[in-house]
C-alpha cells in the first residue's frame, strides 16, 4: 500500500478524536486534502492559506541566509577592528565564507529551531484543546521571529517570549485571523520590555560581544542607529548599509534583499504594495521634516537629537528595521487595515511614527516595531472610518431619492 493510502486510513481511524487536528496538520503538510466542495461553489481557486504563507516564507529565505553569513562577518569584523587590523572587503573573500556561515549555523539556526519548535508546540496544544485545525499563521511568525531579534538573544528568553507572544498575542483572541497585534512583534516587544537591560544594550547585536565585555578582547556590538543616537560618526558606507553588511537584528540588515522579497510578495499579489509603498513614503516624509528642522538650525549639534535628525531622509529608509518592518511586518493582513484606502493611511502612519520614535528616543532608537504595534491597534479604527464613507454614500443615495 502506498503512503497516500496508509495516511488516508490513519486519518479515517482517528477522525473525531482529540489528536485528529495534530495528525491532520502533518498529513495536510504532505498532501493537499481530499476534501470536496459541498454547497456553494462547486469549484475553488488553487490558492489556500498554506500556499499564501509559503510564499511569504520563501520571500524571507534570502534574508535568513544573508543573516547567517552576516552573523559571522560582523563577529570577525568587530574582532579585527578591536585589534586594529584593516583588511580589504570582498564579498566572496570576506563575506561568503565557511567561517561566517559556521557562526550563522551555531547562532542563528538555533533561534529558528527554538522559535518554530516552541511556537508550533503551543499551536498544536491549542488546536487539540479547542478541537480546530492547526492554522498556518505561525509558519510565517516562526520565521519572522529569529530575523528580528538580536543575534545574542539567549534561547531560553526566546522560548519564554514565543510562548507569551503566541498565547497572549494570538490564541486568547481566537487564533489566526482573530488577533489584533502582530504575534511576531508581540514576541519582540515582550523581549524588549521584559529583559530591557539585555535587549537594549549596545552589545547584543554582534555575536560574542557581550561575553567579551571587560576582557582584553572586548569588541563593539553597536548598530548604526546606536552610533547616530550618540552623535558619533558611522564607519559604514552607503553601499554597506543598503546591502546589509552592518550589525543589527539577524535578518533585517539587508535592504537589498528585503526589497527583493518585497518585489516577490507584490508580484505574487500576496503582500500589499499599498502598505509597503506608503510606509516608505511616511518614513521619508518624517525624515525630510527632521532634515528641514536641522537645516533651519532649530536643532543644533549640541542637542541629543541632532545625530538622528541630521541623518539624511533616504538613509533612514535603509538603516534599522524600517525596511523589514514595512515589507514583512506591516503587511500582515490580519493586523493591518483591511480596506484599500485604509492601507494607505495605515502604512503612512507607520513610517511616519517609526522615524519619530527613532529620533526622539535615543535610549532605544528602533521605533519600527512600536510604531507597527501602535498602528495595529488603530487599524480597525481606520477601517471603521473608511467603511463609514461607504455607508454615508449609501444613505445619501436614499436621501436624494426621497427628497
Amino acid at each position: 500500500m502506498s503512503l497516500k493510502q496508509n495516511l488516508h486510513n490513519l486519518k479515517e481511524k482517528y477522525k473525531g478524536t482529540k489528536m485528529a487536528p495534530a495528525f491532520n496538520a502533518i498529513h495536510t503538510f504532505l498532501y493537499l486534502p481530499n476534501e470536496v466542495t459541498h454547497g456553494g461553489t462547486h469549484i475553488k481557486a488553487a490558492d489556500d492559506l498554506k500556499r499564501t504563507m509559503n510564499i511569504v516564507i520563501m520571500s524571507l529565505i534570502p534574508c535568513l541566509l544573508f543573516g547567517m553569513f552576516n552573523a559571522g562577518y560582523q563577529h570577525y569584523a568587530a574582532i579585527e577592528r578591536a585589534q586594529g587590523i584593516t583588511s580589504e572587503f570582498t564579498v566572496l573573500g570576506s563575506f561568503l565564507t565557511w567561517d561566517n556561515l559556521w557562526i550563522g549555523i551555531i547562532k542563528v539556526l538555533p533561534l529558528v529551531i527554538v522559535s518554530y519548535g516552541v511556537g508550533l508546540l503551543v499551536e498544536f496544544i491549542f488546536a487539540v484543546i479547542k478541537g480546530h485545525e492547526v492554522e498556518e499563521g505561525y509558519l510565517v511568525t516562526g520565521m519572522l521571529v529569529p530575523l528580528i531579534v538580536p543575534i545574542d538573544t539567549p534561547l531560553w528568553m526566546l522560548a519564554v517570549a514565543v510562548v507569551f507572544g503566541v498565547v497572549i498575542g494570538k490564541e486568547v483572541f481566537g487564533g489566526t485571523g482573530m488577533n489584533i497585534l502582530n504575534p511576531a512583534l508581540t514576541i519582540r516587544a515582550f523581549l524588549f520590555f521584559a529583559y530591557p537591560t539585555w535587549m537594549s544594550g549596545d552589545k547584543v547585536w554582534v555575536h560574542d560581544a557581550v561575553n567579551r565585555v571587560g576582557t582584553a578582547d572586548a569588541i563593539s556590538g553597536e548598530t548604526i542607529l546606536g552610533s547616530y543616537a550618540q552623535n558619533q560618526e558611522v564607519i559604514y558606507s552607503t553601499w554597506d548599509k543598503f546591502a546589509g553588511f552592518i550589525p543589527g537584528s539577524v535578518g533585517e540588515t539587508s535592504t537589498l534583499l528585503i526589497l527583493l522579497g518585497a518585489a516577490f510578495l507584490i508580484f505574487t499579489k500576496i503582500g500589499s504594495w499599498r502598505i509597503i509603498v506608503s510606509t516608505f513614503i511616511g518614513a521619508a516624509v518624517m525624515g525630510l521634516i527632521f532634515n528641514q528642522i536641522v537645516a533651519a538650525e532649530i536643532i543644533t549639534d549640541s542637542s541629543k537629537f541632532y545625530g538622528l535628525m541630521n541623518t539624511v531622509w533616504w538613509e533612514h529608509l535603509m538603516i534599522g528595521g524600517l525596511a523589514f518592518g514595512a515589507v514583512f511586518m506591516a503587511t500582515d493582513p490580519v493586523t493591518a487595515s483591511q480596506t484599500n484606502k485604509g492601507k494607505w493611511i495605515y502604512g503612512f502612519l507607520i513610517g511616519f511614527i517609526s522615524i519619530m520614535i527613532r529620533v526622539f528616543n535615543p535610549a532605544y532608537p528602533e521605533g519600527v516595531f512600536l510604531a507597527i504595534l501602535l498602528m495595529n491597534v488603530f487599524a480597525p479604527t481606520i477601517d471603521h472610518y473608511v467603511v463609514q464613507g461607504n455607508v454615508k454614500r449609501r444613505l445619501k443615495r436614499t436621501k436624494v431619492k426621497t427628497a
Binding site: K4, L7, H8, T28, F29, L30, Y31, L32, P33, N34, E35, V36, T37, H38, G39, G40, T41, H42, I43, K44, A45, A46, D47, D48, L49, K50, R51, T52, N54, I55, E133, E135, E136, G137, G174, G175, T176, G177, M178, F267, T268, K269, I270, S272, P333, A336, Q338, T339, N340, K343, D383, V387, N390, V391, R393, R394, L395, R397, T398, K401
Partner: protein
C-alpha cells in the same frame, strides 16, 4: 448619458466543455418533480395529493404566505409521490407524465389591453408568478409591493453558461408579449441588458430600456446590473425575471398554455458531447444526460459551477435552471499540492500559480476545495472580483455576527448569494460565502421585513 455597463472587476472562469450550438430533443421522462426548495423562502401548502390527476399548468401547491401564488405542474399526469423529509417538510412532488400531454387552458390574452391587476391575476392563475423574483433577499416576489423597476439580464457571463442569444433565438414574439405584460407591473422602467457584441433577440424589444454589458463575470449577473443602473435603497424593491422565463410567460399570453419546456445547456468536461437539449422543468437528470456522460466519479450540477446545486442521476432538473454541468470530483489527495507550482488550476494570485500566464486557456477543474476551511486572513483579494460598491469582507463578517444595523448599512439589501459566488471561488480561507449571505438575508427578512 451612456446606458452601457462596463465593469473591470471580476473574473471569467474558462472551463472545458462549452456546449456546442446544436440542440437535440431528449425523450420525455417518465417522472417529473417540482421541489419547493427551488423557491427559496416559500412554505408550500399542497393542493395535489398523491393519486391526483393534473394537467400541465395546474397547480400542485401554493405559498402559505400568499395563497394566490400557485406552483404549477410542468406536465400532465398523475401525482405519484410526495417526498417528505424531517418534520414532514415537503421535499418534492413527483408526477408520472402522461404519454400525450394535456395542457390546462388559460386563454390567450393581449397584454396591451390589460390593466396591472389583470396581468397579475393572470400570472397568479397560470402559475407564472414564481418566475418573478425580487431583490432584496432574492426570493419569489411579494406581489403586494410595488417594484421601482424590473430587470432582465440577457447576458450570461457565468462559467459555461448557456448562450442566451442561441437558446432564445426566434422567440422575439414571446419575449415582446411578456415584456408588454410585465411592464404593466411597475411604474418604473423595464431594464434589459444584452451583451455588448451580441445579436440578442432581446435587443429589438420595445418598451424597455436597453443596456449593453461588457466585462468579465459577474457582469451578466442581474445584481451587478442593478447596482450599476439603479441601486436598491432601503425600502425599495426591484423585480427580476430571467429571459428564458419571459419566453414561457410570453408563450402563455400568446397561446393560453403554460409550456415549461426550455433549451438546456449540457456543459462540462464530463459530457462526451456538450450541447443543448430541449427539456421541461423538473425533468429527470438521468434522461437529460442519457448516453452523453462519463459517469465515473462525476459531480452533476443543476445550474452552473458557481451557483448550481449538486444532483444525483435519480434527481431532477431545478425549476429555474437552464444548464446542467458535469465535472470531475476531486476527492483525491495531491502530494505537496499546497506548495508546488500549479499550472492546471485557476488562481487570481501569482503564488506559484501560473494561470495568469495564459488567460485564454480553458481549465478542467474538479471539485476539490484545494485547501481547508480557515478564518478570514487575506484582505484585498475579494475586491478585485467584486464590482459592487460594497466592502465584501466587511459585509460578510457583519452577516456572520448577525449585526442587523451593520448588515443594513453595509449594503445587505443590494446583494444576493450569487453576487458572492466569485469571492467564494477565490477565497483563500475557503469560507462558504453564499451560505453566509443566504442565511443573513433570511435573518434580515425575518427581522426587518
Amino acid at each position: 448619458m451612456s446606458k452601457d455597463i462596463r465593469i473591470k472587476k471580476g473574473l471569467d472562469i474558462k472551463l472545458v466543455g462549452v456546449a456546442e450550438k446544436n440542440t437535440t430533443k431528449v425523450s420525455q421522462s417518465s417522472v417529473y418533480a417540482v421541489k419547493p426548495e427551488d423557491f427559496h423562502g416559500i412554505i408550500p401548502k399542497l393542493t395535489a395529493k398523491e393519486g391526483t390527476e393534473v394537467k400541465a399548468g395546474e397547480s400542485l401547491f401554493y405559498s402559505k404566505s400568499d395563497e394566490r401564488i400557485l406552483f404549477p405542474s410542468p406536465v400532465s399526469g398523475k401525482v405519484v409521490e410526495v417526498v417528505r423529509g424531517a418534520r414532514r417538510k415537503v421535499l418534492a412532488v413527483k408526477i408520472a407524465a402522461d404519454a400525450t400531454q394535456v395542457y390546462k387552458e388559460f386563454g390567450a390574452k393581449d397584454a396591451g389591453n390589460m390593466s396591472a391587476d389583470e396581468v397579475k391575476d393572470y400570472l397568479f392563475a397560470s402559475g407564472c408568478w414564481p418566475f418573478v423574483k425580487q431583490r432584496p433577499y432574492d426570493i419569489v416576489a411579494n406581489p403586494n409591493q410595488a417594484p421601482k423597476a424590473i430587470f432582465v439580464s440577457a447576458y450570461a457571463s457565468a462559467p459555461l453558461a448557456a448562450d442566451l442569444d442561441y437558446t432564445l433565438a426566434g422567440k422575439e414574439a414571446e419575449l415582446q408579449a411578456a415584456i408588454t405584460a410585465v411592464s404593466k407591473l411597475t411604474a418604473g422602467k423595464v431594464h434589459v441588458s444584452v451583451g455588448a457584441n451580441s445579436v440578442s433577440p432581446l435587443s429589438k424589444l420595445t418598451g424597455v430600456e436597453l443596456h449593453k454589458v461588457s466585462g468579465p463575470h459577474p457582469s451578466g449577473n442581474v445584481g451587478t446590473q442593478i447596482a450599476k443602473i439603479d441601486p436598491i435603497n432601503k425600502g425599495e424593491v426591484v423585480w427580476v425575471i430571467t429571459p428564458q422565463d419571459l419566453v414561457i410567460i410570453g408563450e402563455l399570453f400568446l397561446t393560453g398554455k403554460l409550456n415549461l419546456a426550455r433549451t438546456v445547456a449540457l456543459t462540462g468536461s464530463k459530457f462526451s458531447k456538450p450541447q443543448y437539449v430541449t427539456a421541461i422543468a423538473g425533468a429527470s437528470i438521468e434522461d437529460l444526460v442519457a448516453n452523453n456522460i462519463e459517469n465515473d466519479n462525476t459531480r452533476i450540477i443543476s445550474g452552473n459551477v458557481l451557483t448550481g446545486k449538486e444532483v444525483k442521476l435519480d434527481e431532477f432538473l431545478g425549476y429555474y435552471d437552464n444548464q446542467v454541468t458535469a465535472i470531475p470530483e476531486g476527492d483525491d489527495y495531491e502530494f505537496f499540492g499546497w506548495n508546488k507550482p500549479i499550472f492546471n488550476k485557476i488562481s487570481t494570485s501569482r503564488a506559484l500559480t501560473f494561470s495568469w500566464l495564459n488567460p485564454k486557456k480553458k481549465y478542467d477543474l474538479n471539485t476539490n476545495t484545494n485547501g481547508e476551511h480557515r478564518a478570514f486572513v487575506v484582505t484585498g483579494s475579494y475586491e478585485q472580483v467584486f464590482p459592487l460598491d460594497i466592502y465584501p469582507m466587511q459585509l460578510l463578517k457583519a452577516f456572520m455576527y448577525k449585526d442587523l444595523d451593520e448588515m443594513e448599512a453595509l449594503g445587505g439589501y443590494e446583494v444576493a448569494p450569487e453576487d458572492f459566488a466569485l469571492t467564494e471561488f477565490i477565497c483563500v480561507s475557503k469560507q462558504p460565502h453564499q451560505k453566509i449571505i443566504r442565511e443573513g438575508l433570511d435573518l434580515m427578512r425575518e427581522e426587518l421585513g
